[in-house]
């Protein structure tokens, strides 16, 4: 349905997006995962025709939309990262305004507004001003405003940043409903791995403006199939132990956690004994060891050497 081909965008000599290619099929829910500043928002702006790339192309059903942005705009609903609403107007008035922009009016618009308010769980508070809403409620109306014209594709740019768990669950449920029940194609960007894991069937991982990995959750985890993740709890922190573990041949990554260390290491029969012996040499007691299947966070750590929230 949508293809992005070798996108490149440079701002004042700084490359924000570099050689980014990806695709989305109709009805798919695709995740764009990456830390802040990875280039996710710039990529979204290019796809939604708000920014023109320095190189590359965006195609909708095989037709380039760079010269004809109206082609993609009429099937697209964009939920921006910022709260793009009039704070001085009520939720209802905001939705009426954005519906008016899409030439909607009268009874159909009224029904659509009530349906969307119901969907985001704010029907009973529709007359209240946006500025009186909590951050989560504002984000829910921010989503509703992008759905008034029944878009075939919805792009969501970090829709759950800085909100309460209740609103977050509501938003995740809304996205699920859109994709599963209504067949809307969703591009969901976030730096919260668990959200992308829950919602998306395919994931692109971005860092420093480039796509560094892509595939289904299983395919991505398979990157670390020859590796184990060890969570160690230690009685005290030790810099020297960390350094020595990092120097052990099977260990690929060492990350300090709140109560110990997280290791990503190649599967080896004597891995545990090596770790225990090293800890003993440094007189550090291991209070627990947990071996787990690699998560997407581990994949990101493996690929970039840092966590998503670094």
């Amino acid at each position: 349905m949508i293809e992005a081909l070798e996108l490149r965008k440079v701002f004042k000599g700084k490359t924000a997006v570099d050689d980014v290619s990806f695709y989305m099929d109709e009805g798919e829910s695709v995740g764009l995962l990456g830390p802040n500043g990875a280039g996710k928002s710039t990529t979204i702006s290019i796809i939604s025709s708000l920014l023109r790339p320095n190189a590359g192309d965006v195609r909708l059903n095989g037709t380039s939309v760079l010269g004809k942005p109206q082609l993609i705009r009429q099937v697209l609903g964009v939920v921006p990262q910022e709260i793009a609403l009039y704070q001085e107007l009520s939720a209802y008035e905001n939705l009426k305004f954005f519906g008016g922009l899409y030439r909607l009016g009268g009874k159909p618009l009224e029904l659509k507004i009530q349906e969307l308010l119901e969907m985001v769980g704010l029907r009973d508070r529709q007359k209240e001003l946006i500025k009186t809403y909590s951050g989560g409620m504002k984000r829910r109306i921010n989503i509703a405003a992008a759905l008034l014209h029944d878009p075939k594709i919805v792009i969501m740019d970090e829709p759950t940043v800085g909100i309460d768990p209740q609103s977050r669950n509501h938003i995740l449920e809304t996205v699920r409903l859109l994709n599963r029940d209504r067949g809307t194609t969703v591009l969901y960007t976030s730096h919260y791995i668990e959200e992308v894991e829950q919602l998306c069937s395919r994931i692109y991982i971005m860092d420093h403006g480039r796509i560094i990995a892509s595939g289904t959750k299983e395919e991505l985890r398979r990157i670390l199939s020859g590796e184990d993740t060890l969570i160690l709890q230690l009685d005290k922190p030790s810099k020297r132990l960390t350094e020595e573990l990092r120097a052990l041949p099977p260990i690929r990554q060492v990350e300090e956690t709140e109560s110990g260390l997280k290791l990503i290491a190649a599967k080896q029969s004597d891995l545990l004994s090596q770790v225990v012996q090293t800890a003993e040499r440094h007189q550090v007691q291991i209070t627990s060891i947990h071996v787990q299947t690699p998560s997407l966070e581990d994949v990101f750590l493996h690929l970039t050497g840092r966590t998503l929230r670094d």
């Binding site: 023109r52 705009r73 964009v78 793009a84 001085e88 305004f97 008016g100 922009l101 992008a146």
Partner: protein
């Protein structure tokens, strides 16, 4: 365009305080500074060395026979200090048969005072000379007085272009200045909604909708212009029909010129919004820049006070100067459309150039 215009109106209904405050300020400022203002030039008079105060008083009586300038007795030190501190245009030292004009700058008021002094002294001294040869000095003066009250021919004073010499109404000029100046604030802050919407992401949402870019700009421009125009109209109507200000016989022309000024100032604000990067920058730069406009445009001073060619040059690019020229021309000098054509043309040129550059800069920034 309609949804954008209506959204701005709905926001306005929720918090109309800014427009109401600027309307109130226009009225208050004009009432404070312009209404009932004594427009006469005040000149201190003091006796020269060896001259009695009674002689100075006699001269003051003669000098005050006209009504444009008010002469009053003052001590020498105070009069000189007022001139030095620019609190007075000039002071006059009177002797028995002559005077000395003391001024620190040469402005139109000083020239007017000088002209009046020369005329009064000449007339009085000629009378005195004639009286010296007459047997009945008192009778001669009374005869001359009777003669002057019913002269065989009347001399009518006219300006260089032949029009009637009109007494300048500074109160009216201040009304125009305050109203247009405060309307500029309203227009600017309303137009800043564009940069605010860009920062909030609302502008991007509008771009993605079927609404055309031209409609987006027009919605905001029309709204800002309409609010600014209504503000000016309300103040003008109040002063003309409520308070009874004499605004001449062409009120309709005044309204049309005000509308043209609003167009020019909207374009001027658009240029500024195009130059700055954020709404916060606009809110910082705009209120610092706008108060300079009436000063450079000479809005607070009688015409001809600003003579510096650099300041006069700068004022040429300000819409307020041309609007004031046109409005005072219509209201005070009864000028026709043809007479105010240069001012109107300049307002139109400013509007076209500023709007073109302003929108261009805004679009370039987005790209």
């Amino acid at each position: 365009m309609n949804p954008i215009f209506l959204a701005q109106w709905m926001k306005e209904k929720r918090s109309p305080i800014m427009v109401l405050a600027f309307c109130g300020l226009s009225i208050l400022a004009t009432l404070l500074f312009g209404f009932g203002m004594d427009n006469r030039i005040k000149i201190g008079v003091f006796p020269g060395p060896g001259v009695e105060a009674s002689v100075a008083k006699q001269w003051i009586e003669h000098l005050n026979e006209g009504d444009a300038i008010e002469f009053f007795l003052q001590d020498e030190e105070g009069a000189r200090s007022d001139v030095r501190g620019s609190r007075a245009d000039a002071a006059v030292q009177v002797m028995q048969n002559e005077y000395r004009l003391i001024a620190s700058t040469q402005n139109p008021n000083v020239r007017l005072v000088e002209h009046h002094l020369r005329a009064v002294f000449q007339e009085e001294l000629q009378l005195r000379a004639a009286a010296a040869y007459a047997a009945d000095e008192r009778g001669l003066r009374e005869e001359v007085q009777r003669y002057l009250e019913q002269p065989p021919m009347a001399v009518e004073m006219r300006t260089l272009d032949g029009s009637e010499l009109v007494r300048y109404d500074m109160g009216l000029q201040l009304l125009f200045t305050f109203t247009l100046f405060l309307a500029a604030f309203t227009v600017g802050f309303k137009l800043n909604a564009i940069t605010m919407e860009k920062a909030a992401g609302i502008w991007s949402r509008m771009i993605l909708s079927p609404v055309r870019k031209s409609e987006m700009y027009l919605g905001h421009l029309f709204y800002s212009m309409l609010i600014g125009f209504i503000q000016v109209l309300v103040v003008f109507l109040l002063f003309r029909f409520g308070i009874g200000f004499d605004m001449g016989d062409h009120f309709g022309m005044l309204i049309l010129v005000a509308a043209l000024y609003i167009l020019a100032i909207t374009a001027f604000c658009m240029l500024l919004a195009g130059i700055v990067r954020t709404p916060e920058q606009f809110n910082m730069v705009f209120p610092s820049l706008v108060p300079v406009m009436p000063i450079l445009s000479g809005g607070y001073m009688p015409p001809g006070t600003i003579t510096n060619p650099i300041l006069l040059g700068i004022s040429e690019i300000l819409p307020l100067k041309h609007a004031l020229d046109a409005l005072t021309g219509i209201a005070i000098y009864d000028k026709s459309w043809l007479d105010i054509l240069p001012s109107i043309a300049k307002l139109c040129i400013i509007a076209v150039i500023c709007m073109g550059i302003g929108i261009n800069l805004m679009e370039r920034r987005r790209a």
